[in-house]
C-alpha cells in the first residue's frame, strides 16, 4: 500500500484513497482514547439527528394524509415491519424496534457517508463487527432461551440421510459461526470499496486529459454507491431477520 502511494507520488499523481477513513479527534490532539469525540462520533451523532428528523420531526403532525417526510417515515416503518413479519412471523414482531434501530442506523450512516467530505462510520469493521456480533449474540442467546437444547437441532439436519448428518452438522456449525464475519465484512467492505474507488477516480482528475472521463466515472460510481448504500442496509436487515427466524423456529 505504502509503496504504491510512493510510486504514484513520483508520477505527479496523489492517491490517498484510504485517508478518508482515518479516525481523527475532533478537537485536535493525536491520541484517540475510548471516550475522545472523533469524526466517527460526529457522523454517528449526525445519523442520530437524521433519524430524529425523519422519524420524529417528520411525523410530528400525525397527519392522516401524510406529508412527504411522513410518507418516507411510514414507508421505512412499513418496509422493515413487513420484512420482520414476513420472515420471522408474528412472534418476531416484538423484536421489530431492535431491527428497525439497526436498519435506520445503517441506512442513515450510509447515506450521510455519501456526502462530500463526510466520514462513513459503516466503512469500519469495528462498527459493522459490533453490529453483527450484537445480532449473533442476541440470536444465539434467544435461540437457547426460547428453545433450550432443541436449538441445537438447527445443526442436525433431520431430513438428510443419517450417515450424512454428522458431516452436515459440522458444515452447519462452521457456517453458523462464520455468519457474523460475513455479515459485518459484507457491509463494511461494500461501503469502503465504493468510497475508495471514487477517491481513486478523483485522483485521476488531476490529469487534464483524463479528467472528463474521471468525472463521468465518479458520477457513475456515485450513482452505484447510492444504490449500494440502501441495498447493503437492506441486506444487513434481512439477514438479521433470517437469523432471528432461525432462533425462533430452529426446525429446518
Amino acid at each position: 500500500m505504502a509503496s504504491e502511494a510512493h510510486g504514484a507520488e513520483e508520477g505527479g499523481l496523489v492517491f490517498h484513497p484510504m485517508d478518508q477513513f482515518i479516525i481523527k479527534p475532533l478537537f485536535g490532539g493525536d491520541a484517540v482514547s475510548w471516550y475522545t469525540p472523533t469524526n466517527a462520533t460526529l457522523w454517528m451523532a449526525l445519523a442520530i439527528v437524521a433519524v430524529i428528523a425523519l422519524l420524529v420531526l417528520g411525523t410530528s403532525k400525525r397527519a392522516i394524509v401524510p406529508s412527504r417526510m411522513q410518507s418516507i417515515a411510514e414507508l421505512a416503518y412499513g418496509f422493515v415491519y413487513k420484512m420482520v413479519e414476513d420472515i420471522c412471523g408474528k412472534d418476531g414482531v416484538k423484536y421489530f424496534p431492535y431491527i428497525m434501530t439497526l436498519f435506520m442506523f445503517i441506512v442513515c450512516a450510509n447515506f450521510l457517508g455519501l456526502l462530500p467530505l463526510s466520514f462513513t462510520t459503516t466503512s469500519h469493521f469495528a462498527v459493522t463487527a459490533v453490529l453483527a456480533l450484537l445480532v449473533f449474540v442476541t440470536v444465539t442467546v434467544l435461540g437457547f432461551v426460547k428453545n433450550g437444547a432443541a436449538f441445537l437441532g438447527l445443526f442436525w439436519v433431520s431430513s438428510a440421510p443419517l450417515p450424512l448428518r454428522p458431516i452436515l452438522a459440522i458444515i452447519e456449525l462452521i457456517s453458523y459461526f462464520v455468519r457474523p464475519v460475513s455479515h459485518s465484512i459484507r457491509l463494511a467492505g461494500n461501503v469502503m470499496a465504493g468510497h475508495a474507488v471514487i477517491k481513486v477516480f478523483a485522483g485521476f482528475a488531476a490529469i487534464t486529459i483524463i479528467s472528463p472521463v474521471s468525472v463521468l466515472a465518479i458520477t457513475a460510481m456515485y450513482g452505484l454507491e447510492v444504490l449500494v448504500a440502501f441495498i447493503q442496509a437492506y441486506v444487513f436487515t434481512i439477514l438479521t431477520c433470517v437469523y432471528l427466524k432461525d432462533a425462533l423456529h430452529p426446525s429446518h
Binding site: 509503496s3 484510504m18 472523533t38 466517527a40 433519524v51 422519524l55 397527519a63 424496534p97 428497525m100 462510520t121
Partner: protein, 185 residues
C-alpha cells in the same frame, strides 16, 4: 517496503515515512481506534433504540392504525350510504308501482261505474221501449178487436139489409148466427 528502503536509501526512507503518515494501510485495521468507535457506536445505538421504541415507532404505528381505522370507517359509511341509496330507490320504485296500481284501480272503478250507469240507462230504455211496445200492441189489439167487432156488426147489418131487400123477413138471430158461421170459415 523493506527492499525499497534498502535499495534507494534515504530518499525512499523519506517517502516511506511520508506515506506512513498519510496512508497507514487500512485505517479500518488500526486497532487503537476500536475502543473509541465501539464506545460511540454503542452510545449511538442505545440513543436510536430509545428514540425509536419510546417515540417514533409507537407514533408511526398509531398514525398507520388511525389511518387504517379512518379508511375502514369511511368504507363502512360509504357502504351505509350505498345501502340507503338502494333503499331510497326501492321506496321510489314502490311508490311508483303503487301510484300506477292506484291509477289503474281508479280507472277500473270509473270504467265500471260508467258501465253500470250505461247498463242502467240501457235497461231503463229497454224497459221503456218494452212498455211502449206492449202499450202499442195492446192498442193495436184493441183496434183490431174493435175493427173485428165493427166488421161483424157491419156484416150482420149488411146481411140483414140484403135479406130485407130480397123481400124476406130477416130473422135477426138467424142472420147473426149465419154471419158468425161464415166469418169463422
Amino acid at each position: 517496503m523493506a527492499t525499497d528502503t534498502h535499495e534507494s536509501g534515504t530518499a525512499a526512507a523519506d517517502a516511506a515515512h511520508a506515506a506512513a503518515e498519510s496512508a497507514p494501510g487500512m485505517p479500518q485495521l488500526d486497532f487503537s481506534t476500536f475502543p473509541n468507535q465501539i464506545f460511540w457506536l454503542v452510545v449511538t445505538l442505545v440513543v436510536i433504540y430509545l428514540i425509536l421504541s419510546r417515540v417514533a415507532l409507537p407514533r408511526i404505528g398509531g398514525i398507520l392504525a388511525e389511518r387504517a381505522g379512518t379508511i375502514t370507517n369511511d368504507l363502512a359509511a360509504a357502504e351505509d350510504l350505498k345501502a340507503m341509496a338502494v333503499e331510497a330507490e326501492k321506496a321510489y320504485e314502490k311508490a311508483l308501482a303503487d301510484a300506477r296500481a292506484e291509477a289503474q284501480r281508479i280507472a277500473g272503478e270509473t270504467r265500471a261505474e260508467i258501465q253500470a250507469d250505461l247498463d242502467d240507462a240501457i235497461a231503463k230504455a229497454d224497459a221503456e221501449i218494452a212498455a211502449k211496445a206492449a202499450e202499442s200492441e195492446k192498442a193495436i189489439a184493441e183496434i183490431r178487436a174493435s175493427a173485428l167487432e165493427s166488421i161483424e156488426a157491419v156484416a150482420k147489418d149488411t146481411a140483414a139489409e140484403i135479406v130485407t131487400a130480397l123481400g124476406a123477413k130477416a130473422d135477426d138471430a138467424g142472420v147473426a148466427s149465419a154471419v158468425t158461421e161464415r166469418m169463422k170459415g
